[in-house]
């Protein structure tokens, strides 16, 4: 579970009891679910590790499709199995299909490593970053995705509801997930078809027209909690060659052309029950806000109060390691549409268009230095 060289798969500093729990969670995270252990009947992946190989980004073979919500008012296709499509089905069952009239988008799994640090960032930090965008000359106007949270959510340190009862959410491509617990419960249920006490109904497929049955939890609370702890306690991806002159120069360019406005090099955590996560400065290269990425990235699907063209700033940490788990190439942006970092930059529109244009105006050697910097993350 530990690979210090690559900076993934290992835990933060833990005490003995926490290490045992981390190890238990590690085993559960990388276990393969079968029909006898709750998989399906409709699913996207057979285990957490199928999408998050080495705690890294996903591969297109486990890409997921969400459908049914085209505005901030909510999902109108819940009776047809929304929000997530079970692209695969156990033998004898029919995989789901997007119902007529529903809009949809495809999302490739984001990196898992370091999510405990992101969860420990207090709302105040996120709101301060958003406030700083107010007069951004490049037109950056990021904002948090406020959403309702599930009944089983445990309120995070430094998290407070808005007057309308909605909370700042931060995980997922649309930043519509409140906490790691919610994400893990969602993933078991929607990605694997595994029920829990938190989400006791199997996913529904209107094509098969079987009943959406409540079932005995197929993952027990202890196992689910160990997976939550495992994700929470994963270390952050460590940059490589950070002192290399080209990397340093590329990092300066990254700041100069405005990338760092959204892909913030540093954030700070607040209080945490886990000592190694408390009051830490770390380098995720995200602001946890959603931004308008322009019409090319508008799939007419959304979650929470994000608009359809708005996406959460993807943490860039571990970016250079992505090809390790993506077959030697890259599948970047929310649906893997970019096959290289340069292509991903060039696909940035909307609030990121100015920075993308500045990147295009750089000399070839400067572009190369900036790309070298990104690959070092």
């Amino acid at each position: 579970m530990i690979n210090p060289e690559e900076g993934l798969c290992g835990p933060i500093s833990l005490d003995n009891a926490q290490t045992v729990l981390f190890s238990t969670g590690n085993n559960a995270f990388f276990a393969t679910r079968t029909s006898s252990t709750g998989l399906g009947p409709y699913f996207v992946a057979t285990g957490c590790g199928a999408c998050h190989t080495s705690d890294n980004r996903g591969h297109p073979f486990t890409i997921l499709t969400r459908f049914g919500q085209s505005d901030t008012l909510g999902n109108t296709f819940l009776n047809e199995g929304a929000p997530q499509l079970g692209a695969f089905a156990l033998p004898g069952f029919m995989p789901e299909a997007v119902p007529p009239g529903a809009t949809s988008t495809r999302m490739i799994a984001p990196i898992t490593a370091g999510v405990g640090f992101l969860e420990a960032v207090p709302d105040s930090e996120i709101l301060n970053i958003a406030a700083a965008n107010a007069n951004n000359p490049d037109g950056v106007r990021g904002h948090p995705n406020w959403d309702t949270i599930p009944h089983f959510a445990i309120i995070l340190n430094g998290s407070f509801p808005r007057a309308d009862g909605k909370w700042i959410c931060r995980f997922g491509r649309k930043a519509s997930v409140y906490s790691i617990l919610q994400q893990v419960a969602n993933a078991y249920n929607r990605d694997m078809g595994v029920t829990s006490s938190y989400m006791p109904y199997n996913p529904y497929n209107y094509l098969d027209q079987t009943l959406q049955e409540i079932s005995t939890p197929e993952v027990d609370n202890t196992t689910l909690a160990s997976v939550v702890f495992y994700c929470t306690a994963l270390q952050t991806p460590e940059p490589r060659n950070a002192t290399d002159s080209t990397v340093v120069y590329g990092g300066n360019l990254f700041n100069q052309i405005g990338c760092a406005t959204c892909h913030r090099p540093t954030m700070a955590t607040g209080n945490s029950a886990i000592a190694a996560l408390a009051n830490q400065t770390f380098s995720p290269f995200t602001d946890l806000l959603v931004h308008d990425m322009g019409p090319a990235d508008d799939d007419h699907y959304t979650e929470g109060t994000a608009e359809t063209s708005e996406w959460r700033t993807t943490p860039l940490w571990g970016l250079g390691l992505a090809p390790n788990v993506q077959g030697g190439t890259s599948y970047l942006m929310h649906d893997g549409r970019a096959s290289s970092i340069q292509q991903a930059i060039e696909m940035h529109g909307g609030e990121a268009a100015v920075s993308a244009q500045r990147f295009g105006a750089l000399s070839a050697s400067d572009q190369s230095a900036l790309l070298t910097f990104l690959k070092s993350l």
């Binding site: 190989t53 080495s54 297109p60 033998p91 077959g327």
Partner: protein
């Protein structure tokens, strides 16, 4: 590093002795019981009876068995479980000549992981691996029925620990093909020889696999997963017969070539007469060859298998529809003769090369290759005080990639380590 130097030193020292006979030739093994067939020359298919037995007085019953135990210390991607002491197998054979041309053999085995699936293992078990009755009508036509070991390749038939110079079974023959794949069924076999040539055939109709081969804790098409379903000895998941056939040709100067094939409908496609799925086929092709190079007495054993199966079209690509793998063993006897009180002791040096691809093909989503493969090289030295007993020391260097080609993870990347094992017939 010291261990590697010692390994090389011992190997070079041993190589300075004169060549001797390879010890994995099962014909060297004694067989005092009268359970062999009426043809004296053997093929791999005879391995099930070609073991050392002891006859109990004037009783028609002969007994035998073998035991296999190892120490190993390996690490994967730098992570080691430390020293592991493994009691892998204890096997007891009971054979009897019931009457002229009718014989029976059974094998009861204790195995540390009979499922072959480390992620789905229910722990060590005692199990009946073989229990079949043979009627010999003619050397070319014998009937066999009961719980049999399907002749999918040579290793499945000839897998006893004492016959091999390696502590581990070949990966492809144990984790792609299910080793000791036994089922209930009936069939015929026979053999004939003319001068230097020998021909053998086997054909069986048996129970088959089940849905677990594409629904298991390994997360890949994994035929050994079906071994966990003990009900297979009474209940065939598909209700359809599985067919296994093997032909073998041997020339006493060239070697033995075996070609085997298995076909099966592996899934439960109807429940109480009502169809719930389409029938899905499994096809296995296997080729094996073994020979001993004259003069040098170098023994070469190789086996390669190809698996093709129908996987539901809307199923995760983690469960592939094609697999390929095999191994090559080269065993060089370097000394045979008296050693201490053993008159026919033998030292061998050996090496095994092996490769398995559990998911041949490309991702439909990207067109990229699916990996999920392993290659391994395992040099070895072995000492046989007698032909029935082996003490072996192996070094393994193995490399494993997951389906995306990734090598970072607890069970991925490079595995390296040593094992020391003993195995003996008794």
């Amino acid at each position: 590093m010291k261990i590697i130097v010692a390994f090389i030193t011992i190997t070079i020292s041993i190589c300075s002795f004169r060549p001797a006979m390879a010890q994995i030739d099962s014909t060297l093994l004694k067989s005092p019981a009268s359970t062999k067939d009426t043809l004296k020359r053997t093929l791999t298919m005879d391995a099930i009876y070609n073991r050392p037995f002891l006859q109990l007085g004037k009783s028609p019953i002969s007994i035998g068995g073998y035991v296999e135990s190892d120490w190993e210390k390996v690490s994967t991607s730098g992570i080691s479980l430390g020293n592991q002491f493994q009691f892998r197998r204890f096997s007891l054979f009971v054979a009897s000549t019931i009457s002229s041309h009718i014989k029976f053999l059974s094998e009861i085995e204790y195995e540390d992981d009979p499922s072959g699936d480390p992620d789905g293992s229910t722990g060590p078990q005692f199990e009946i691996e073989y229990a079949a009755l043979d009627f010999e009508f003619h050397p070319l036509f014998n009937l066999r029925g009961g719980m049999i070991v399907n002749p999918i390749g040579a290793f499945n038939q000839n897998h006893d620990g004492p016959k091999w110079e390696f502590t581990d079974r070949p990966i492809a023959m144990s984790q792609m093909l299910p080793d000791t794949w036994s089922t209930t069924g009936f069939g015929a076999y026979g053999k004939k020889y003319v001068k230097d040539w020998m021909f053998g055939y086997e054909f069986y109709i048996t129970g088959g696999f089940n849905d677990s081969i594409i629904d298991n804790a390994q997360g890949k098409t994994f035929l050994p997963a079906a071994k966990s379903t003990l009900s297979r000895f009474e209940f065939s998941a598909s209700g359809e017969p599985s067919y296994t056939a093997k032909i073998s040709v041997k020339n006493s100067h060239i070697g033995e070539l075996g070609l085997s094939y298995l076909s099966d409908i592996y899934n439960t496609w109807e429940i109480e007469g009502a169809p719930v799925d389409s029938k899905r086929w499994l096809h296995i092709f296997d080729v094996d060859f073994n020979t001993t190079i004259p003069k040098a007495h170098t023994n070469i054993i190789t086996e390669w298998a190809w698996i093709f199966l129908q996987v539901p079209p809307d199923y995760t690509p983690e469960y592939g529809n094609r697999q390929f793998g095999g191994f090559v063993d080269v065993v060089q006897p370097v000394y045979q003769g008296k050693f201490l009180d053993w008159e026919h002791a033998t030292f061998n040096v050996a090496v095994r090369g092996e490769y398995v691809d559990w998911n041949v093909g490309n991702f439909q989503a990207t067109g990229q290759r699916m990996y999920n493969d392993t290659w391994s090289v395992m040099p070895a030295i072995s000492f046989r005080p007698t032909p029935q007993t082996v003490l072996r020391f192996n070094y393994r260097h193995e490399h494993t990639r997951d389906i995306t080609g990734n090598t970072i993870g607890a069970a991925l990347g490079t595995t390296a380590g040593y094992s020391l094992g003993l195995s003996t017939y008794f």
